[in-house]
């Protein structure tokens, strides 16, 4: 394990964070409040526990963004991710497949049936296999609607996961990591601390040891996924969790894993567990 320099790097991280307070990029600004439409308060700071012994506190990625970016998320009209949510809402009611059924035919109103679903993802299915939300959606499509599966990162899938994710907005992330889920969680944890690529960086190198510091011109966050699927300004579109994992590992100049791979599902469970207590942000806005 790569934690020989923990004490030193934590001190360094603390010093660097102190340096940034008062500068133009005074993020994470722990006093900033994420309030949607002036009404819904989202939790962006949560207490840490044994799962994240090296994080003094859990911070949502929202806190690390500039004020301009943060503001985009606080208004449901200005939030460009809402386009995807609306597209997902329409798809929810669209009949498809040889059975000519829509999601609504079985699940009714998503506001009721999908409440809390995103907050508990990923989780074991009935057969004890770890599935992400995309797996559950495609399972319904292929097994029950007799329709074609959507590509993991297709526009249709991202619209649907955005819509479903919205139904958990404001709820705390809460994933099951004990029992049969434990082996997946441990696999994810091991990946998190494995150095990949020519740059030999692990997730922890940036997101645990260096959050708050700058990587080139980007303000490193804790790498939480409570804001996913997220509208990335860079893509001017929605980005899924596995897509982001893939990009991160590719950026270490490694042969990265595929979206929808077992490895990324395990990593997703582990990373989700590091954010327990933070609010699901529905659809977030990130640079």
């Amino acid at each position: 394990m790569q934690h020989l320099k923990t004490a030193k790097s934590m001190a360094l991280a603390a010093a660097c964070m102190a340096m940034f307070t008062g500068a133009a990029l005074a993020d994470p600004d722990p006093t900033a409040e994420l309030v949607i439409e002036g009404e819904l308060h989202l939790v962006t700071r949560a207490p840490s526990d044994d799962l994240t012994p090296y994080l003094p506190e859990r911070y949502s990625g929202w806190l690390f963004r500039t004020e301009t970016t943060r503001n985009l998320q606080m208004d449901d009209f200005e939030n460009p991710a809402m386009i995807a949510v609306e597209a997902g809402a329409d798809a929810w009611e669209t009949a498809e497949g040889t059975n000519n059924q829509s999601c609504m035919d079985c699940h009714g109103d998503a506001e009721d049936s999908m409440a809390g679903v995103r907050a508990g993802m990923p989780h074991l299915n009935d057969a004890g296999v770890l599935w992400s939300m995309e797996d559950y959606v495609n399972n319904c499509r292929t097994e029950r609607m007799d329709a074609e599966a959507w590509g993991w990162n297709s526009g249709d899938m991202r619209n649907m996961t955005s819509y479903i994710s919205m139904q958990s907005r404001g709820m705390p992330v809460d994933v099951e990591i004990t029992g049969d889920a434990a082996p997946y969680w441990e696999q994810g944890r091991d990946m998190y601390y494995t150095r990949y690529g020519q740059l030999e960086l692990s997730c922890a190198s940036c997101h645990e040891e260096s959050y708050g510091l700058m990587i080139r011109a980007d303000h490193l966050s804790q790498g939480q996924i409570n804001g996913f699927p997220t509208y990335r300004l860079k893509n001017a579109g929605m980005v899924s969790i596995h897509n982001r994992f893939r990009g991160c590992i590719r950026d270490t100049r490694a042969e990265t894993f595929a979206m929808g791979s077992d490895e990324f599902r395990a990593l997703e469970l582990y990373v989700a567990s590091r954010g327990m207590g933070l609010s699901v942000e529905g659809v977030a806005v990130r640079p």
Binding site: A24, R65, E67, T68, T69, R216, A217, D218, H219, D251
Partner: protein, 138 residues
């Protein structure tokens, strides 16, 4: 290895070159401005731009321009390959003259706004927006 004497000589040489008279050539920005104003002078009051000091991603930079009494507002990104960003004409049913939108900036640069006022005069202002490249892989 550069000695101090070398550095001084280079520095003096550079400032000498800078002081040579250079003929100004019309740039794409000049052309964009001239197309709008016809070369008229622009006052530096009566128009304001609100833009972030640092744009976290150049793909989507929210800006807004206020110019009470304007009939038309033009936005110019002085550092973009094509400086013109948009031209907004206000009609009879327009309210207070303002515009807010999101623009693409290819790099750190001045964003300029020019307003044409009801009496045919022009006003302009500019603000620097630092555009960051992004992190690992951008």
């Amino acid at each position: 290895m550069l000695t101090r004497r070398d550095t001084l000589a280079i520095g003096l040489g550079a400032s000498a070159v800078a002081m040579l008279p250079v003929t100004a050539m019309a740039t794409p920005v000049d052309d964009a401005i001239a197309a709008f104003t016809g070369g008229a002078e622009m006052a530096d009051t009566g128009i304001a731009i609100t833009a972030p000091e640092i744009a976290e991603n150049g793909n989507t930079v929210p800006i807004s321009i206020d110019a009470a009494g304007a009939t038309e507002i033009m936005i110019i990104a002085t550092g973009n390959p094509t400086p013109s960003v948009g031209r907004f004409m206000f009609g009879e049913a327009a309210g207070t003259a303002m515009i807010a939108t999101r623009i693409r900036l290819g790099g750190t640069q001045d964003v300029m706004a020019i307003a044409k006022m009801a009496d045919g005069s022009f006003a302009s202002t500019r603000v620097e927006v630092k555009v960051t490249i992004g992190g690992c892989g951008g």
